[in-house]
Symmetry: C2
Subunit: 512 residues, 2 copies
């Protein structure tokens, strides 16, 4: 197997010249050979890509600057139809230049490998092309959603409650915010800010995902009223600071009502102390939301669940993205509530023209009226199929494997302390470190050296993108200049791949 | 070709017994025969489904009540992995019981056929499994998004501006609302309601999609401050009423700031008069948003664009869903702004750890910081590929074909006025009508008869679901009891299918 060959995927002479109007659904055929040929050719290309991507000798990407890439590809929309053969070529060309996010040497953030079963599920989802709206049009998928979300709530530690799948963690966090506001101030939905006798204030750590602050902007509190609580050196919220800031706002006549804890912060992978925050929320009558978009998968692991999630059943809502650690295909994000009935009471706009009560079947299965979307993508099938393919036991092992690999990486970094500087013991699969080029080895570690180490991150990153051999992210944070943050969230990764990553960074950066 | 046979899709004896841990990415293979076999078997099933779905002799659905369906399917998540053979069977079973939303006799709302090219695009999207976040990880897709959205803005009538793809029309409308508030009250993002000297008020017709009202709830105005303007008997907003209500709110010291016009209302398919509303918005300094989620496709048609969209270039923002009339796979919704720069200034939360400015490439291509999502599904590829498969000319013809079929339906209903009562001349592909059973034929049409006609809609709907031959929606509105609303939005539909629909309703309902 070699890289994607754009010219390989040839349709028969007859089919090659056809266009979309010659295949289903434009032709009234109940069995169209040309449609079959076209789709099987696409499948052949995709199956090749899945294999190529898994080949460690293959590059992850073939980097070109945007202006050059535009010239390589022919992206314009023509006036007239292109042929089926051209469409197949378009697909091959697209994959040739796309970043292979499922490659075993992809340690960047934002992709978590390519689970082939979840992918097969997403192919089916596309083919079924339905809307998660009513039992009427999505009977099987609506039932699957019920089964899987109920299971997830059980894993959280709740017997009842309610959940929904949302298009990403940011929207899931928004759902939590809205439900909290509605529960605590039921008139807000109708009356807006007039419904409350003062300014509503929310609290989160300075390490939280930016979508939490975004809620304050979107929902009209203003970002001023999203209080960023300081975190400790491990990136965990400082509970005493949270309490101090709640009291400070109360003293100003404000109304603290919502606290977000993060279970797996974006950069450091830190876990805020759930039980301690739950106590504070209880004391000050605040809604307790946990953003476990990133870390949620570890709920499945007996080995790593505690102490990270100890007390999780005390929260009011939790965001948990199967498309992150669990490797379900993007998008697959879930939001869970301890109390049932809130989603519908918060979000329904009584669209009687869509949700009639004189239907044939038990309408309690219809979900359309409890979401802020109307059309909603089917995000459940790929997760359901993937979960069955592993079993709950297998999913737990999958989580353990990722964490154990992160532990292996930490060990290897420690063993090569001349070349690498571990910034902290990680709590999740994020490993933060600096690479030390030859000229800085042996130089005492201080703030000045950190500045130097920070400067070389973008250079190494740029070299790795141009060589195409590796993808690892870097960023600064409040305490440090740029540092590398490798993410092990793909089941394809092995110990040898971790060693490859460290060696490759050394190869690319030792002269800097 | 007959219906999906769950037992047909047999893997080889060896592969059948394997589980997910025996295929890519769990096995370190650069070319796994078992992975290939599994995926090609899934593709075979999906290609069969595409053909079966297009067979007019096939049922659209095999209806079972939720409790019965649960027994037919085995939905539970096991502790241990199921085999690859079982996964294939799971997929076949799912498709067997799923509603065939692309069947040529599906005239229900919320599905618009199955465009096979768009579907192939979505298969590729799944396989590429990336995040529309930065050029770094999605170079090809990010460039495609730029090309297609720029083209859509040109079609709207704008040379500049900015756009984004969002997970559905409701979120697109939310984007418009947020940008409007930010443009007119730049301090709102930070200070919330304190930034304005009075209550913000938005206006929309009583026929609008409920997501517009939902913006008022989500964003903290309160639904009280979403004024529902009366519509005329065709479902179009009454401009004089809009102006009267703006003045009424101004007199109360409120701040009218946002007007939504609907281009293609959900139930009647009505188009609000754009130019007249633009004049009013100009006069009262309101942001002018057009929700063309449903009707937007007609912008492509020379024949039907005017007068429906005359003046559209005057609006400030427009929602336009390719996953509706244009038949792109769900989800594919776009929101366009006349002014560039608003999306980023409104939505960015300055997450420096994600959007560093010391990158290798021109970061102006990164989209992550201008959306309220963080992870964002790739919704562009399926639309880009589909558009190339038709050409802009072909897409225009596609729109014309849908509208001409709706006109044919209207003609056939008029020709059978003993059996059908046309409620109004439609402006879009929604055709609203009552069916008249034998006992009511010849009875003068009055309010009492309408009540009778309304009562039989759910009965016919229930019969059609149980017979599985047809799907057509019904609902009441402010002026009428239940009536049928057929939607012709699938390119698979022909005149013969329209006749089938009317005849089948007659067959199912004549004894009522």
């Amino acid at each position: 197997m070699t890289s994607i060959n754009v010219e390989k995927y040839k349709l028969s002479d007859k089919t090659a010249k056809l266009t979309a109007k010659d295949i289903i659904p434009c032709v009234q055929s109940s069995d169209s050979a040309e449609t079959r040929e076209f789709l099987h050719k696409i499948a052949e290309l995709l199956v090749d890509y899945v294999n190529v991507q898994n080949d460690r000798k293959e590059k992850i990407l073939d980097f070109h600057h945007p202006e050059d890439m535009k010239k390589l590809l022919s992206l314009e929309i023509p006036e007239d139809a292109v042929t089926l053969q051209q469409l197949v070529k378009d697909c091959a060309m697209t994959l040739k230049y796309q970043v292979k996010t499922g490659h075993p040497h992809f340690f960047n953030q934002l992709s978590c490998g390519l689970d082939v079963v979840s992918m097969a599920g997403e192919w089916l989802t596309a083919t079924a092309n339905t809307n998660m709206f009513t039992y009427e049009i999505a009977p099987v998928f609506i039932l699957m959603e019920t089964v899987v979300l109920t299971k997830m709530r059980k894993i959280i530690g709740w017997d009842g409650g309610d959940s929904i799948l949302a298009p990403g963690g940011s929207i899931s966090n928004l759902y939590a915010f809205l439900a909290a506001r509605h529960k605590m101030f039921p008139n807000y939905k109708e009356h807006g800010a007039r419904a409350v006798p003062g300014e509503l204030v929310m609290f989160t750590s300075d390490q939280c995902h930016y979508s939490v602050k975004s809620c304050a902007a979107v929902c009209g509190l203003g970002t001023d009223n999203c209080v960023m609580v300081p975190s400790d050196e491990h990136g965990r919220i400082i509970p005493a600071e949270l309490e101090r800031l709640i009291l400070e706002r109360k003293a100003r006549g404000h109304i603290p009502f919502f606290v977000n804890a993060t279970a797996g912060t974006t950069v450091l992978g830190a876990f805020d102390p759930i039980n301690t925050i739950a106590d504070i929320c209880q004391k000050y009558n605040c809604w307790f939301h946990v953003d476990a978009a990133w870390g949620g998968g570890l709920l499945l692991s007996n080995k790593y669940r505690h102490p990270r999630f100890t007390g999780i059943e005390r929260c009011d809502s939790i965001t948990w993205n199967p498309h992150k650690l669990m490797g379900a295909l993007l998008q697959c994000s879930s939001i869970h509530f301890k109390e049932d009935g809130l989603l519908i009471s918060c979000n329904q706009m009584s669209a009687e023209y869509l949700f009639m009560t004189d239907k044939l079947y038990d309408i309690s299965y219809d979900t359309g009226d409890k979401v802020i979307q109307c059309g909603r993508h089917n995000d459940i099938f790929k997760l359901w199929l993937q979960w069955r393919s592993k079993g709950t036991e297998g999913f737990a092992k999958h989580m353990d494997q990722l964490m154990e690999l992160a532990e292996y990486e930490v060990k290897r970094i420690r063993q090569q302390s001349d070349k690498f500087y571990l910034i902290m013991e990680p709590e999740c699969v994020n490993v933060s470190f600096w690479y030390i080029p030859k000229r800085l080895r042996g130089v005492p570690h201080d703030a000045k050296k950190e500045q130097e180490l920070g400067k070389i991150c973008p250079i190494i990153k740029s070299r790795m993108m141009q060589s195409g051999t590796l993808m690892v992210g870097y960023q600064p944070d409040d305490r440090r200049p740029n540092f590398f943050r490798s993410i092990i969230s793909s089941i394809a990764v092995t110990e040898a791949d971790v060693d490859f990553m460290l060696n490759e960074i050394d190869r690319l950066g030792q002269d800097l």
